[in-house]
């Protein structure tokens, strides 16, 4: 059984929350102390049992004003699957022109998210 202290990020209060949980492949929350609202409690439960994350990455582009285009996830994915998702993103090759919001990958590694372009990449004039 492990103890850990979090600082909740749901609202600016930043309540310090102490949790006790069982480690292992499927961590289980045992007790929560310090959350001032139910949102904090459910956030910390998610954090222990199945933390979800968004992240940004980049994909190589040909024929554009930039060598690479930045992308991000539209929905959080399980932390445990991040490197799998990154690997799928890295397989992609894109060509200009690209616009913010273009979907370049859907449901990578069986997750529910989409991967979208976050920078406009016009065609290289040369």
């Amino acid at each position: 059984m492990t103890e850990k202290e979090f600082i909740c990020v749901v609202c600016p209060n930043g309540c310090p929350i102490k949790v006790r949980y069982e480690e292992g492949n499927s961590p289980k929350l045992i007790s929560v102390e310090g959350a001032r609202c139910p949102r904090g409690k459910s956030w910390v439960k998610q954090e222990i049992e199945n933390p979800m994350r968004t992240f940004s990455s980049s994909v190589i582009v040909s024929g554009g004003d930039f060598l690479e285009v930045s992308v991000r996830l539209t929905k959080p994915v399980p932390l445990a699957k991040i490197f799998e998702v990154v690997a799928e993103i890295k397989k992609i090759r894109l060509s200009a022109p690209l616009e913010i919001g273009d979907v370049v990958l859907s449901n990578p590694a069986g997750t529910e998210t989409e991967v979208i372009v976050t920078r406009n990449v016009p065609l290289n004039a040369k």
Partner: protein, 499 residues
């Protein structure tokens, strides 16, 4: 590959290059071997950049004679090579009565050395030159000046090259032999061999190693040929302090001081240097250029004492240089230059122990070496010697707005700024990249164009330089090298293109 030259110069510092340029006036084939990726990478780019007047050296020594005559040659040389020089003079200061005997001695020495226009000033007169200066008296030497030591070295090299001297960079000398015909054969680290009638050893910190390879372990007067590297660390201060120091201010040196003491030096580009320290380091590692915590603390303390208004953010960089001293730690002080054709090996010219005032003396040393060479090779002046370099001294940002406007119309790239802190233009960066010696490291660009030498230390210009080298010169990530082989900046791409 075997090369054949009349004269081979080993060592591409300011002295080796001054010799190369001088010899390039005459009909003879000359080559220069330099072990680093560019000229001037060791001692020549790591000093205060001061041209000394000559008062500090014992009368009758080479240091005294060559510094005085070298100093006198600098205006013409800098004008020809388009190198910026500022004759700001020096106040060698006696803080209190205890310094007065030393001051008197220096004045006598300077007079004996025929240093021009020396005069002793009282504090009132000192204040007129440098307001706020402390001290009861000072020697004013108007011929003292500041210059860019790497700028001069590079200009000498590129002019020598334009006049026919062949340059071999990244070529470390491995063996030196003399064959029966009397010619020298030299082999280098990249598997090349050179044959020459005359060999000039201007290898600075490595000069005794080279001399040893040639079998010469003693000077003509029996001196033991061993270099004792003595490190000097510096802080570079922000050029917002430009103008604080109107002149060089040095303390009266002690007899056993290994250097000239920690002081403030205004540079020709508007920075202030604080240093150098003086610390002997192990002879096995003459190129250990680390900066150390205790010395940095000393330098900081001195800086705060000498410049009460200084801020933490004014300290922008550190560097270190190693003096190639002939005097061991127990002795301290300085030995005279050794510049001689060795008795034991005809045609082998040794230059050993050229520490300060080596920069000042360089053009005079070159003439002395030329005279030695003339005993073997008749000096026939070339008809077409290109004495003058094109362009302007200093940087584009030094020019008047009218001149800038005019030049931008001819060369649009003078309008695009690459280094924001020092206002260095793309044209200057391009000229630096395309230097005639073929040196393509980031340091080579920096020493020529001065980008990256400002307060942001390359934060702004680095991505721009990276882009230029990639888009306009085809650099891949592995091609970016800082200075020496192995100092790669990057390990590769984030992502590769088409597989």
């Amino acid at each position: 590959m075997k090369y054949r030259f009349n004269v081979l110069i080993i060592g591409g510092g300011v002295v080796g290059n001054a010799i190369a340029r001088e010899l390039s006036r005459f009909r003879m084939t000359v080559a220069l071997l330099e072990k680093e990726s560019d000229v001037g990478m060791e001692t020549s780019c790591r000093n205060s950049g001061v041209l000394h007047s000559g008062i500090n050296y014992e009368a009758g020594t080479l240091r005294a004679k060559l510094s005085v005559s070298g100093n006198a040659m600098m205006d013409k040389l800098c004008s020809e090579l388009k190198v910026k020089i500022k004759r700001i003079g020096k106040l060698t200061t006696a803080i209190d009565e205890n310094d007065l005997p030393g001051l008197k001695r220096l004045m006598e020495q300077g007079t004996a050395n025929r240093v021009p226009d020396l005069v002793i000033l009282n504090n009132h007169e000192m204040q007129k030159i440098q307001p706020g200066i402390e001290g009861i008296a000072a020697i004013w030497s108007p011929t003292s000046a500041v210059i860019s030591p790497y700028g001069l070295t590079i200009a000498l090299a590129e002019n020598a090259h334009a006049n026919g001297v062949e340059y071999f960079l990244k070529s470390e000398v491995l063996t030196v032999k003399k064959d029966e015909s009397g010619k020298f054969t030299v082999t280098t680290s990249n598997g090349e061999a050179f044959s020459a009638d005359i060999l000039i050893n201007a290898a600075g910190l490595s000069s005794c190693r080279i001399s040893g390879l040639a079998g010469v372990n003693e000077g003509n007067n029996g001196e033991s040929l061993k270099i004792w590297p003595c490190r000097g660390e510096y802080f570079v201060l922000d050029n917002r302090l430009d103008g604080t120091l109107k002149t060089l201010v040095y303390p009266v040196p002690g007899a056993k001081d290994a250097g000239l003491g920690i002081h403030l030096t205004p540079t020709v580009d508007g920075n202030i240097l604080i240093g150098p320290s003086a610390e002997y380091i192990p002879e096995e590692t003459p190129e250990d250029y680390r900066v150390t915590a205790p010395v940095l603390e000393d330098l900081r303390r001195e800086a705060h004492k000498l410049l009460p208004d200084i801020k933490m953010s004014d300290f922008i960089r550190n560097f270190a240089g190693n003096r190639p001293k002939l005097t061991p730690p127990a002795e301290g002080g300085n030995a005279d230059f050794i510049i001689e054709e060795t008795k034991s090996l005809n045609g082998f010219i040794n230059l050993i122990g050229i520490e300060s005032p080596g920069l000042t003396s360089a053009p005079a040393i070159a003439e002395k070496v030329r005279d030695i060479v003339s005993k073997h090779i008749p000096l026939e002046e070339k008809e077409k010697f290109l004495a003058e370099c094109s362009g302007f001294a200093g940087h584009f940002s030094d020019l008047s707005k009218e001149e800038q406007e005019r030049l931008i119309k001819l060369e649009p790239e003078y309008g695009e700024i690459i280094c924001r802190c020092e206002k260095i233009t793309k044209k200057e960066v391009r000229d630096a990249i395309e230097n005639s010696l073929g040196a393509r490291t980031l340091a080579s660009i920096k020493y020529r164009a001065r980008n990256g030498m400002g307060r942001c230390q390359g934060g702004f210009c680095t991505p721009r330089i990276v882009r230029i080298l990639r888009d306009e010169y085809g650099f891949t990530p592995e091609d970016y090298v800082l200075r020496e082989a192995g100092s790669n900046l990057f390990t590769g791409n984030v992502m590769k293109g088409k597989d």
